[in-house]
């Protein structure tokens, strides 16, 4: 298993694509793989994708959104706020609009740290990014 945390800080979009495809293949073919491992991997890759200053390919985004939508309710019910936070980061750093629209429906549903994370994320996107979740570089463009 790859320790994604230890990957180089900069990976080219092509290298990242290979890593994304590798982890997505695991998600799609090995449902027994630990969810925390998958989410940690996607979290690390999403951060590196942001730092390429390019948008993730739509086909990869589609597969990641399908994964998130499949685990979201279960994750929230587990009340693991850090894991939920990492999923929110993946959504934000990759600009996953469909997933964002889904999690917005969960605002106010959980009165716990998990609920706080969801509300905090929505607030940040709506206030700082003017709701433009689909553009992960909105804040940089604002200053340009």
């Amino acid at each position: 298993m790859i320790d994604y945390k230890k990957l180089p800080d900069y990976l080219s979009p092509d290298e990242l694509r290979r890593y994304f495809e590798d982890i997505l293949r695991q998600i799609e073919t090995q449902p027994e793989v630990d969810q925390s491992y998958i989410i940690d991997a996607l979290w690390e890759l999403a951060d590196r994708q942001w730092h390429t200053y390019t948008l993730i390919a739509p086909d990869l985004a589609e597969r990641i959104e399908a994964f998130i939508e499949g685990v979201w309710v279960q994750l929230c019910d587990r009340q693991d706020s850090h894991l939920v936070g990492k999923v929110l980061s993946i959504i934000g750093n990759l600009g996953l609009k469909r997933s964002y629209e889904m999690i917005k429906k969960f605002s106010g549903r959980y009165h716990s740290q998990t609920g706080q994370r969801i509300d905090e994320f929505i607030q940040q996107v709506e206030v700082l990014d003017n709701g433009k979740i689909e553009d992960p570089y909105y804040s940089l463009k604002k200053n340009k």
Binding site: K5, D9, D47, H51, T52, Y53, G85, I91, Q124, L128
Partner: protein
Amino acid sequence: MQGLDRYAYVNNNPLVYTDSSGHFAWLPVIVAAGAVIGAVVNYSAQVYSNYQSNGGNLGAALTTNIDLAAIGKSALAGAAVGLTVAVAAPVAIAAAGDVLAGTGLLLGSTELFGAGMAAYGAATAVENALLGVSTEVAASETTALAKYDPEFAARQLIDGDTIPVSNLEAMTPADVPNTFVPSSTIQEGYKYQFDINGVPVELKWHSPDLNAYRLYGSSSYSGTRWTAQIKIGDRLLGLDRMFYLKQQGNLTHIPIEWR
């Protein structure tokens, strides 16, 4: 604003400097001051009454017909007032700050939220000062931060609009290796990953990112100077000392200062 800062005594830099003589607890001083004021007010009132009734003899008014028990009671009342004010005021300010921050979140106002958090922080600082609670972290004690909330500790890294590199070095445990890998776009950097009380911490600072410069030019901190990114758990520290769940450009790429 240094007078209001909880780290004013270490030049606003708790990770580097320490107050070797220890903190002074101000609560007993305030209570004692209340007692003295109470006693002085009562004694003065008695002297004035004596002076009026003895035909203007100040010397006699100062020393005769003085009720020591009444002075004692007044001193106790003064001490009680001092204690009440010292304890109640910070609690009230903290509660008001909490409400303000909550209102800010509800209204989506970062200004209100920030003001509320500032009030809350100031009230906590006053409470700490009153009780003599020490919150400083010594640079030489690389494990000292484990005693604290890592988010709180990370906020203290920021000094004005930058993070002094000495603060980053002070927060890094000595036995943690630098795992930064140079690349064609970022040529030099440092990255340290470790845990504080089970919370993953990542401190990273690096030279200008040529990709960021190419795309965003001088408007990008990351593209034009050395910047730091501080991850505590699942969130990133912002230049405004708040934490963010996603990258926020210049807000989460904090300029560092070489000192």
